[in-house]
Symmetry: C2
Subunit: 67 residues, 2 copies
């Protein structure tokens, strides 16, 4: 899913590894990896954690640039 | 959570009742009610169903107008 690619792009833009980013989110590294591969059905609470760790509003995670 | 209020506003703008909207989403009416009250931790798959039923991109569901 596009959401995972968007998270990956934003996470890479911060310069953080998956592990450092996962720590910042308070989530597991393998879970972040699964999100970035589009394998996880992420819920609002974790969407909010990810957005907070990226210091962006949640809406930015859904800006896929093709809609 | 703001997400639920946003869903409610967009759903009401369509003129659909919770029940008719839930049918359109393929979800239960009580679940839609819970979402609109901010009581449900909605996941990406259901976010996508709701956006599709509203005929908007998912990003619109996160446009809270205060960020």
């Amino acid at each position: 899913m596009k959401f995972g690619k968007r998270v990956r792009a934003l996470r890479r833009a911060t310069g953080l590894s998956q592990e450092a980013f996962a720590d910042s989110c308070g989530l597991d590294r393998t879970y972040i990896g699964g999100i970035e591969r589009g394998e996880r059905n992420v819920s609002l609470i974790n969407i909010a954690k990810i957005a907070a760790a990226l210091n962006v509003p949640a809406v930015d995670l859904f800006e896929f640039g093709d809609e």
